[in-house]
Structure formats: structure tokens, C-alpha cells
């Protein structure tokens, strides 16, 4: 592999891995209230109320 090949290989992988890791870290660092809980059971407690997602 030529020196330029190495440079492109390292820079390209560094850009992509850096972007990916920085995004994932930010995702996990955000406050808990921004996350939705995974509802295992539909309790139907909103059936008679207005849809809260509007």
C-alpha cells in the first residue's frame, strides 16, 4: 500500500468511526426524560383521554 493509500485509509476510517462514536456517546449522554420507556404492557390508561402525542 502506498503512503497516500495509508493516509486515505486511516483518515476515512477515522472520520467515520469518530462520527459514529460521537453520535452514540451524545445519544447516551442525553437526560433520561428525553427517552421513552419501552412499554411491555398496554395499560389502556389513555383510552378515554386525548392522544398525548399531538
Amino acid at each position: 500500500m502506498t503512503p497516500l493509500g495509508w493516509i486515505i485509509f486511516i483518515v476515512s476510517n477515522a472520520i467515520v468511526i469518530g462520527l459514529c462514536i460521537s453520535c452514540i456517546i451524545r445519544i447516551f449522554l442525553i437526560p433520561r426524560e428525553h427517552m421513552q420507556a419501552f412499554l411491555e404492557i398496554d395499560t389502556h390508561d389513555l383510552d378515554d383521554n386525548e392522544d398525548p402525542k399531538g
Binding site: G5, I8, S12, R26, I27, D51
Partner: protein, 531 residues
Amino acid sequence: MVQNQKSYGPPRESWGSRIGVILAVAGSAVGLGNFLRFPGVAVQNGGGAFLIPYFISFLLLGIPICWVEWTIGRRAGRLGGLSSSPGIFGMLGGGGPVKYVGALGLFIPIVIYMYYVYIESWCLAYAWFSLKGDLILGEGGKHAAFFSQFTSGDQYFDALPETLTTLLPQNFFFFILTFFINFFLIFRGLSRGIERFCKWAMPLLIFSAIFIVIRVLLLGTPDPAHPDQNVVNGLGYMWNPNWSELANPNVWLAACGQIFFSLSVGFGIILTYSSYLTKKDDVVLSGLTASSMNEFCEVCLGGMIIIPAAFIFLGVSQMEGIAKAGTFSIGFVVLPQIFELMPLGQGCGTLFYFLLFLAGITSSISMLQPAIAFIEEGFHVRRSTSMAILGLITLMGTTVVILSPGFTVLGTLDEYASNLGIPLLALFEVIVFIFVIKVKDGVEEAHVGADMRLPRWFPFVITYITPVFLLVILGSWLWSKIHPFFSGGVTVFADPIQSGTILAMVGFFVILVFLVKAAWPRMAKGMQQKQ
């Protein structure tokens, strides 16, 4: 199933967690193209130099359209409670003719699913064959013959007694199995089916790919008689830049195309997925994260498996032919040869084809969701009914793909859905974002609940650069189709199978347009109640 109950129409689904929706979108984007198509395209278009137009296309085309889709989808979902492309476009366009553009968002994923699920079943079959040792065939072109025999639908008629007892039942068995796995996951619903599956499938896929990359990088120089066939030179064949290629416009178009198809933008899938988000959910960082995961799988993993391994075991003399061989040949003819020569190759082959199967299924289940959403919100039927309708349609289409000789039907579906349908839908999405939502309002909409702000260059790029990019891609493809007729020697309807496939696609699209017209009153009523 996580659902929000409504008094009109079927209950509306929603995502269970943020990481779930990101993995689902990333799973939709990561597919066979990341591992099979990207390396071949890169090598043919300048090697390392190809990464320059590739990353520019990612910044100017892929990411902006991705953000547009996430923003449009969530806006239509939270304001109108609609999740299908016709519903989303209809809601944003005030019920006008724009809703018919949404038929493209049904047409593209259904048509692609019809052949994609078949290719996906090959991956499952090859994982099984590799595990059993059936792919250890020796030299002399036996791998090509095996693949041809395995996939040739015309053998149903030519050699029925023999094939019934050997290859074809396996071919059909793996297709049916894959088809039902897809529909089983869809039947489980958005959160319990797609999301839960992607939550374990995506990490498993990535770890499997990392394992195989490490295996390839540790190969060193397996054959002392050929010291030049080593891992460093293999990486060099993939990554050494050929700068002269950057002067070739086709290289830039290839980079645009690769980014476009790789990120799954313009399919209508992200529109549907993001419509299930709430006002509090972020779309900017989530969209960027899903896209960057796809790039990781493509550049960091896909770029380090096939080409270096092929170089090490087959040598530089065969590399040019391999790079031009096409995705199927690389994946199902060349790779089995490489795994046969590789130490621990049987296990690596099984793992690689299983990861391809996972990459395929996380994409194919996403292709079904837009149509399921349309049938349910447009005709108010239960999940089982909508699945039965869609299952019948796609089963009929895939059966034609399987039974047709060669890959003519498959290739025609792929060419028109990918090269015409996807850029066209993406162009319409950008037009809606610019002229219907307005860029300023669209940016504000994206910032609602966002964990990061859109870059300052986004409004300029989405208004002036991205549409031009899309028009150039569409124009160059149309020119490549039209030009041969002017230069002579090409007859319209020369290939009856290809022509029949094109006519069938046109007919299917027209039917979808009429279905959108029939379904709109119910969707509008549901939307009014939501508002």
C-alpha cells in the same frame, strides 16, 4: 404491541425506545450493498480517491435528504396521525394531488422487496450450505455452476425430476422460510417486531462483521510462494488512490448513487418510521446517528473484507474481473472460493453469509411497513388482513422473479425502482420541504425536541445543491436510456421479458394511484379527528 388508542381507525403504533428507532433505521440502511456492492464500486472508480466524491455526496446529498425525511415524517405523524407516504404527502399538501406522489413511497419498497427477499434467502441458504460444507467444491468454475443451478428458475421446467430432488427444493424452501420470517416480524408490530429484532440483530451483525474483518487482517501472507499476495497489498488494492479517475464524471455519479442507495433515502421508509415519533423525540441527532452507523458498516467493515481477501487468495491477475463481476458474482461465486481457501474459512463463510442475511432482513422488514401502514390507515383493516393482502401481492411478484429465466425480471425491477423511482421520490420530498413546508419552518420543525442543531449550511444545501444533485442523477440515467435510441441499433420492446416487466411496473403503479384515491377519504377523516 405499543399502541395509542384512537376512536377512529386502527390503533396507532409507536416506537418503544430511542435507540430502538435508530437501530431500526440503521438496520433499514445497512444491507447487502454495504458488504457486496460498495467494495466493487470503490475499486472500479479510483480506489481511495473514490472516497472523496463519496464523502462529499454524503454531506451534500445523503445527510440533507435523510434529515428532510425524518422531519417530514414526524411532522405529518404528529399533526395528522398518518404514517404512509400517501397520507404524509396528502396531509402536507392539504389533500391535493400531491398525495398521489406518495404512491411512489409504496411502489418503491414493495417492488424492491419482491426481489430483495429472494436474494436475502440466498444468504440464508449459503450460510446453511457453508455450515454443512457444501460450498467446498474445488477449482474449475464449480462455484459458478453451483450458483447458476441454485438460482435458475427456468430449471423448474428443463430438469424437473432431477432438480426436485436436489437443488430447487432447497432454493424454494429457503425463500419461503425467509418470506415468512419477514412477515412474522411485521405481524409482531413496530415495537415488538421490527424494533426488538433490530435491537439484537444490528449489534450481532456488527460484531460478526468485526470478527471477519479481524480474521482477514490477520491473514498475513498465507501462501509463501506468493509473498506479494498479502494483507497490506490487499488493502492497497482497495485503498490506493487513482486520482485521474476524479476527472471522470461517471465516478462522481457512482459516488452519488452509492450514497443514495446505501442510506435508504428516497424509499419512503424513513418517512413512515419517523411518523411514529412524538413531538419530544429528536430527529436531527437520531438521523445522523443512523446514517453514521450505516457508513461504519460500509466503509470500515465492507471496505476491509471482500477485496483484501480476494486479493490475498486469488491474486492481482483476477482482481479486475472480480471488481467488474457484479454484486451477485462477488457474493455467491467469488466469496465461496475465498472462504474455501481461507484457514477457518468454513466457519467464517457461515458467519459472513449469516451476517448478510441479518443485514438483508433488517432492510426487507422495513420495506413492508409503509404498505402495511397504508392498508391499515387507508382501509381500516386489521393487521392480519393487511399482512395477507401484502403477502399475496409480494408472493406473486417474487414468484415471477424466481421463475423467470436468468435475472432479467430482477434486474429490470432493480434498475427502474432504484435509478428512477428512488431519486424521483427524493426529489419530490425535497420540493415539498422547500415549497410546501418552507425551509425556514422545516428547520424549526427539525429543531423541536432536537438534541443537536442542524448545521448552518443546511438551508443553502437543501435549497440549491441537493435538488441539482438529484436532477443530474435522474438526467444522466434518463440520458443513458434515451441516448441509444437516437444513436440507432436499439429497438423498443426488443426483450419481451424486460418490456413486460416495465409494463407490469407501470400497471402496478397506476393501481396504487387508484388505491390512494380510494383510501384518502378515510385517511382525511382520521387526520381531521387527530387535528
